[in-house]
Amino acid sequence: MFRTYTDYVNKTALTLPDKFIDVRTGESIEVLPKVLEQIEYHSNNSTLIHLVLTALNSYLQPKSINNGNSLLLEEIREIKRMMQMGYLPRGNGQIGKGPAQLNETSNLDLNEVEDVLEAFGG
């Protein structure tokens, strides 16, 4: 179901579906009753274009509103970055299974190593 809201004074018309696709995440989202209520209010108030621009502005530049929390955001970004890397911070030296570092006291003798290298590598 589509419904059209119009602000004749400023020549603005907006047709709303029941659901829309979030252009950043690709998710399909229902139009909230609160959104409908606001659009209705602003179209009656001849300020529909201002509502749309305000919404776009805060959507495309969310940071400008949040400068009070920039330190917090920085922290979260750092955590996000670490999660994307998927590893423990460098310098920690180990992941789960103990040291993966080659050690010189390996029980393998040089003959066995050379044998494997000769047979499997080149």
Partner: protein
Amino acid sequence: MEKQNFLAVDIGNSWYKALASDNGIFSEYQLPNAIALFDGEFYEKPYDDEDIILEENLIVEVKSPAVIDKREIFYIGKGAARQRDVSLTGFNNQKVDEDRTYLLLFGLAAYHASLQFPEETDINYSIDQLAVSLPTTQYKERKSRLRDKLAGTHTVIFHKVPGVPEPKELTVKLEIKEIIVGAEGACAYLGLTRDQETLEIKNEELVKESQKGIIIGDLGGDSVDFVGIKNNRPVASVEGEPFGINQFLDNIIQRVSKKELFRFDSRAELEEKLAAGQSEWYVEPFAGVRKDISKYIIPQLKSMAIKYLEHFDRVRSSSTEIKGAVRYIAVGGAAKLARKQIQEAAVRWSERGRPIELMFPEDMEKLNVQGLMILAKMNQLKKVQGNHVISTKG
């Protein structure tokens, strides 16, 4: 021992699989074997840098003696798979001679390096040991040429890097100190039998069985590599074949495109769907319209499974050294995807009186790269212990 960086890369025809160990810290990557020319005119600017994942947006320029410098810029991996002009591997391609091998390999190594130094835009990264693989059919003749091309210093420039100020570039200078080349399939045996940390034998039973003979059939994108193992070593007389899953994937893609009006961006996209399991085997040509595509997938996997077993049967009867093999092992990503169909096809071979009892090991798609990492570490061990022996002598 000094700090060391090891990198093992399984240069697959459908995926590049990499394991890195930096001073003992492991990382793992996989990248579709896809490249596409980058054209700035068609580059869609994102709303926000934070919407972009670097791994899916690798745009590289490679300056290296291994590739002719045409000053061309490429998408590699996932980003390339989404482009219209994506280039996937051709049938029976020669990995050593193709630029794509070096673009992808250096690009992947540089991406790994960039994650190690996230704050820097000018990175110097050295790899003490690089281990790479070739199909058995290309291994003997071409390994030294591959080693020569990989050795030395290569520069990778990443363009349009999210989170980096204009001109949004990141430069990684890779220094590759030593290279070891392994054969696909044979490396899987190392991965199966040896421990990643201690490099010692972890599967005594399999090593014992190798006294009588083992055959490994590594089913990949464009090659199936058979390796006979006798007394814990590869047997020379077994060869690979140009046959793999890619031709079957292409058939599925063609049919789905014709009948369901849905175009896969790349083989990698279809393969991810296959790996996710049958519940994901549908496409959405239009929003909200779900089309079941299992009827295109299953017959293709079936016919691949039958041919794979035919190759297996031929190989086991053609080599005298391996005639009495007691164990057959399936490895490789394609074998994992078609495990069910292969097992079904195996029943038919038993009915005909020529049973092929295959073993499907854990992590069968990663065994080659694990084996390569073991080779890389051993190569380092040899270097260090070798020096040690000399120094105590002297």
